[in-house]
């Protein structure tokens, strides 16, 4: 059975796939927005002087990092409704999963970046009378944030690709949309190739955007 490559199939699938790509973007952006908040809070909690607070953040990070995202998604979408009787919409479940998941990794990024700032900076802040919180906000965080950008970019790309796993709970994101097209036209080669190219475009845009942000911060502070 000879294989004919049909470029027109690729072109024809684009409009439908773009709808899926849009969903992928919505889930990625929403998930990462909350994931960053969650990660920043958990990361700072890990630096708390209070052991109990550190422990809570530790349990969160370890639990999420120690279980597959697919299992988390299945549990949230199929498992939890059994117990509480309400099923949240798949899109919301998707955003929650991406947020909770990226948050665990971002927590480690935040903790590492803050710890990498010389203790002299905290001491200098304190000696001019700033509180611990003020020193954190005006002195430590801005410097730490700059150091977070490369690993954050990496995490953003991972999270974007992770959204493809959400097809399992029926989120109409890019990969699932491709799947549905293939179910009808059986052109797996062309369709999945197009899907792959679309993911690549999106991940490259993230890399590009963060590169630009890094450059701007660099120029702004001359370092």
């Amino acid at each position: 059975m000879a294989f004919d490559f049909e470029p027109s199939v690729m072109i024809d699938s684009i409009p439908t796939l773009l709808v899926g790509a849009k969903m992928t973007i919505i889930i990625t952006v929403g998930g990462l927005f909350f994931g960053f908040l969650l990660g920043a809070i958990a990361g700072l909690m890990k630096l708390s002087r209070n052991m109990f607070v550190r422990r809570i953040a530790g349990v969160y990070v370890e639990t999420i990092r120690g279980t597959p995202m697919l299992v988390q998604a299945m549990f949230l979408y199929f498992g939890l409704p059994m117990a509480i009787g309400i099923r949240i919409p798949a899109v919301v479940a998707g955003i929650v999963i991406i947020a909770v998941n990226s948050g665990a990794y971002i927590a480690e990024i935040v903790r590492g970046a803050v710890q990498s700032i010389n203790v002299g900076q905290m001491e200098a802040g304190r000696t001019i009378g700033l509180t611990r919180g003020q020193t954190m906000r005006y002195i430590i965080w801005p410097q730490a944030f700059k150091r977070m950008i490369p690993p954050l970019g990496n995490q953003f790309i991972i999270s974007l690709k992770d959204t493809s796993l959400l097809m399992i709970i029926g989120v109409g994101e890019l990969l699932r949309t491709g799947d549905e097209i293939v179910a009808v036209n059986f052109r797996a080669f062309e369709v999945y190739l197009t899907v792959g190219i679309m993911y690549l475009c999106m991940t490259m845009s993230i890399a590009k955007a963060l590169g630009m942000l890094e450059k701007r911060l660099h120029l702004k502070s001359q370092r």
Binding site: G120, E123, A124, R126, I128, L130, Q222
Partner: protein, 242 residues
């Protein structure tokens, strides 16, 4: 201005300060000498509670810093510190480094703070560097900015922890010059340094710390011409003069 009584400080089992008593009067310049590791920095850092004293009493500008009700952030603005490593804020311009304290701690308006900041930068000879960033400055310039940053709080006393030790020899003079001027203007200063010339010219009192205790305390004249403690004689013979 500062009264320290029977100050003890341990790091774990290691007792660094074994009962230090020190009084600093308003307008006085006290220089602390001593071998490396003898606890000089620890004394300074206990005064503004960057280190928690193990026991003893420390009164700064009337505030008992061992009392938990004391607002330590306020005490720190009255007894501010200049570090060996400068510790300027690298993401802020020179002027922002100086104005951060007045704006966030003293509640000054930005305009007022900028005026004060430029004034103080002028005083340390760096007005034209106001809009540069710390990494564009030499070590001596950085330390002068750090001094201006401390002055911006209008402190009652400034604690200097080896302010010239991280500097190339040719840059030491410009920083000492600024410090001398402050001393002449009546600023209360506690200075840990190895600059014997500064101690002789500027200090009202020189203190020698060794093995966690003050071993000798005298006016510079007596201190250098007639050292009694054998460890001090040994120490002075090893220090190169500038």
């Amino acid at each position: 201005m500062i009264q320290i009584k029977n100050l003890h400080k341990s790091f774990g089992d290691f007792e660094v300060l074994k009962g230090v008593d020190l009084h600093v009067k308003q307008g006085e310049v006290v220089v602390i000498l001593g071998p490396s590791g003898s606890g000089k920095s620890t004394v300074l850092r206990c005064i503004n509670k960057l280190e928690e004293p193990t026991s003893g009493t420390i009164i700064v500008d009337g505030y008992d810093i061992m009392d938990h009700r004391t607002d330590i952030n306020h005490v720190r603005t009255e007894a501010t510190m200049v570090f060996q490593q400068f510790n300027l804020f690298p993401h802020m311009s020179v002027l922002e480094n100086v104005t951060l304290g007045p704006i966030k701690v003293r509640g000054m308006s930005r305009n007022e703070a900028n005026k004060l900041g430029l004034d103080l930068l002028g005083k340390v000879g760096l007005e034209e560097k106001a809009h540069n960033y710390p990494e564009q400055l030499s070590g001596g310039q950085k330390q002068r900015v750090a001094i201006a940053r401390s002055l911006a709080l209008r402190p009652k006393v400034i604690l200097f922890d080896e302010p010239t030790s991280a500097l190339d020899p040719e840059l030491v003079g410009e920083v000492l010059e600024v410090m001398k001027r402050l001393a002449r203007e009546g600023m209360t200063m506690v200075v840990v340094t190895h600059e014997m010339g500064f101690a002789k010219d500027v200090a009202d009192r020189v203190i020698f710390i060794d093995e966690g205790r003050i071993q000798e305390e005298a006016e510079p004249e007596t201190f250098f011409s007639n050292p009694r403690h054998p460890r001090l004689r040994d120490f002075l013979s090893k220090v190169v003069e500038h």
